[in-house]
């Protein structure tokens, strides 16, 4: 790989690959989110609060 003169372009010389199993987890979460969004759209506009339990890195009481 040719080195770029801009050092910001060379910060990550060994790019990592995301494990393939993450795709299934994301798509499962997306399917649940999609269902929640469809259902909650019928009764409320606050679907984000209904989805807070799906996140790993955000505390439930911080989601907005």
């Amino acid at each position: 790989m040719q080195k770029n003169s801009n050092p910001f372009k060379n910060l990550n010389t060994k790019p990592k690959q995301l494990p393939v199993e993450i795709r299934k987890k994301v798509m499962d979460d997306v399917a649940i989110a999609s269902l929640f969004m469809d259902l909650t759209f019928l009764v409320t506009d606050s679907y984000p609060s209904a989805l807070k339990g799906l996140f790993k890195t955000i505390d439930s009481n911080e989601f907005n």
């Binding site: 910001f8 910060l11 790019p15 995301l18 494990p19 993450i22 795709r23 799906l54 790993k56 955000i58």
Partner: protein
């Protein structure tokens, strides 16, 4: 021609437009395939370890599905996405009080009280990438993210104005401050 093959040939912006109107998970899967590794590698720059980077990536894609409608096409989709990723990571780092205490060496302020210097891009490009990586870890994540958007992801001043919702002079001042901080951090590295 099958639908999946059609999706693979369209631009990011057209794909997202279709996704916003249809909410089809299959379209989101295509977007995931295009950007999963790129998002993951950006998360690695803010996470403590690979597990945290994986968790961040997973959450970012879920939030992306929920918030995809907020993409208004004012910049390239990839630039908007990287800004979305950095925002999420910056919030995560700032939220993590334990890490804030652990990384007490952060909060590198510009110039230790000296006035801000105008650092030309040519001087910035003379920095060595491995040492630059360490210097970026020393400054505030907000400063790191604006530098990465500008110099790694090629966001223009106009893009940054739209993404950060601030004026041109404010963007330039934030860049100037961030450049000062990273250069000072770089020269203070042992």
């Amino acid at each position: 021609m099958s639908l999946p093959l059609l999706h693979k040939r369209i631009t990011d912006e057209k794909l997202v437009k279709k996704l916003i109107s249809s909410r089809e998970p299959e379209l989101f899967g295509e977007l995931y395939d295009r950007y999963a590794d790129k998002v993951f590698n950006k998360c690695c720059g803010f996470a403590i370890d690979l597990q945290e980077a994986e968790d961040l990536t997973q959450d970012i894609f879920l939030l992306l599905y929920i918030k995809i409608g907020s993409f208004q096409g004012r910049s390239k989709f990839s630039t908007w996405l990287y800004s979305f990723v950095y925002n999420f990571c910056v919030n995560h780092v700032n939220r993590n009080k334990y890490r804030k205490m652990k990384d007490s060496s952060r909060n590198f302020e510009e110039g230790d009280g000296n006035p801000l210097q105008e650092i030309p891009d040519s001087s910035l490009f003379e920095l060595k990438s491995q040492k630059l990586k360490k210097a970026l870890d020393q400054i505030e994540p907000e400063d790191k993210s604006i530098l990465l958007l500008k110099y790694q992801d090629d966001a223009t001043i106009k893009d940054l104005m739209a993404l950060l919702q601030i004026g041109e002079s404010a963007v330039k001042m934030r860049l100037k401050r961030a450049k000062n901080k990273v250069v000072n951090a770089y020269h203070n590295l042992k």
